[in-house]
Symmetry: C2
Subunit: 329 residues, 2 copies
Amino acid sequence: MTTLYDVAAIGNAIVDVIAPASDDFLAEENLVKGSMMLIDDERAVGLYARMAAAVEASGGSAGNTVAGVASLGGRGVHIGRIGRDQLGDVFAHDMDAIGARFVGGRMDDATPTGRCLISVTPDGQRTMSTCLGAAALLSPGDVDPAVIESARIVYLEGYLFDPDEARRAFAKAAGLARASERLIALSLSDAFVVDRHRGGLQGFIDTEVDVLFANEAEITSLFQTDDFDAAVAAVRGRARIAAVTCGAKGSVIVAGDTIHKIEAAPVEKVVDTTGAGDQYAAGFLFGLAQGRSLDYCGRLGSLAAAEVISHYGPRPQVSLKDLATVAGL
Amino acid sequence: MTTLYDVAAIGNAIVDVIAPASDDFLAEENLVKGSMMLIDDERAVGLYARMAAAVEASGGSAGNTVAGVASLGGRGVHIGRIGRDQLGDVFAHDMDAIGARFVGGRMDDATPTGRCLISVTPDGQRTMSTCLGAAALLSPGDVDPAVIESARIVYLEGYLFDPDEARRAFAKAAGLARASERLIALSLSDAFVVDRHRGGLQGFIDTEVDVLFANEAEITSLFQTDDFDAAVAAVRGRARIAAVTCGAKGSVIVAGDTIHKIEAAPVEKVVDTTGAGDQYAAGFLFGLAQGRSLDYCGRLGSLAAAEVISHYGPRPQVSLKDLATVAGL
């Protein structure tokens, strides 16, 4: 089977709607700072009406990772579902425009493209309220076997564990990937997602996952412990490789009996941490697709994460390929 | 008649689609750097497909001015026409969210909201390709007499001289404003607009316009001269007040026999000049609505323009009211 893609990522196709907000606004709207909450269409309309003037840009965790892979010079494809509307056009355009591809489904009815209402408080933190819309209706039919079979790595976004149909699409992709001996990578996405689907995620990790991405909150939630080291010990042997990010402290890569500690790449000023995990995954997966060492993969992930947190927005603003060359990677 | 608004602005309701571009891209697409060109839907679809990943934000000249008036603590309303689609929602939302209002029309059919494809070259210049969509169908029926009669100043965007229906809406607004003794302000918008409609604009200025806004290129185009001083001499007595902006050199306000020279407000670094004229008009008109001197109006306009050129995007990012207080205005 020909390999066309380094990474095929399956996730919620989401357009971000970004507006400044005060702490009082979060309190009035019962939003927990720094969290991602799913909201329905009615709530989204009401919340949007009360938000400040906004800017729209393509987002979505897996979409951001594909953008990172493309910026590194890799070939990425995003599988998702969008509405037959302008924000759907925006999402597909932005994916094509970076030299990646959007495949998957498009609604026949009026279900809108998913959007994430992001309130940015003066301290730089982002609070996300996601209305999945069309993204939640990703179905097994949207997963084209030819795409999965032609990708070195199939990357799955943990958020997809929430909608039933998407979880089935997820299972189909994993099955196809396994059958064609492709690597399967999974991001836990969010500590609350882990809390809602702990059993299902643990089973999936044990049976299917080659590369697991998590941050501290997610990995400790997965194993219901407050102790980071205990969580790292617990993950050993469950996923073939686990890459756990720890913000400014760097990341830890666990693979069998070995543990690699990777320092965070230096950042002059942290502007906005959104997308740090997505870009870490982009660097790591691109390195892995090129057959590089885990140490290299971790350092490339750290570099990509450092770029994205030094500006607003969850996708790279400079060529990560050039940045990696300069950094000697 | 009760005065509800400081400024009622009539203009193209446009959402900006902003993406980086190379000089080669402009050449390949036959785009003239720094210009605004009208394009049809087919051309817009093709151009958008070749543009890089983009960000969307509300724009439109009159809309930007209303945003500036609101930021100064004034009451503004935008009269335009949008599509029954997501970008239309975005435009109306952003107007409401800044404490202004969007009124006017919304399409019953599938005509999309107008959009301006903005290519930003590495030198910071912006080249605009505008697909008017619904905005071009602004019609006299969209102009509510009650809105015009309750505004101190009616502000008209010269771009509206292009579509026939919009020009009739323009004439209706001017007639209503004249009948209720409201001030009529006009922006020439673009040297090419002036070139296309020189006779009509001159006649309109002679008979209807109290306050004329123009930049150097527009005022010299209006009077078909290369000599700025000759153009300033020519405008004297045609509009009651003419405010001519000259970029970093400041502005010149001509009113009867008096000429006020206003210095540009200092800017640490010019990042993006888009919206400078729109924000100058916002400051000037807000001052005028408060009954302030022409000198004050000019200085407030310069301050608002300085804010907007110090960052990306055509609308204020900080409270212009606070900025004016700090500046002692």
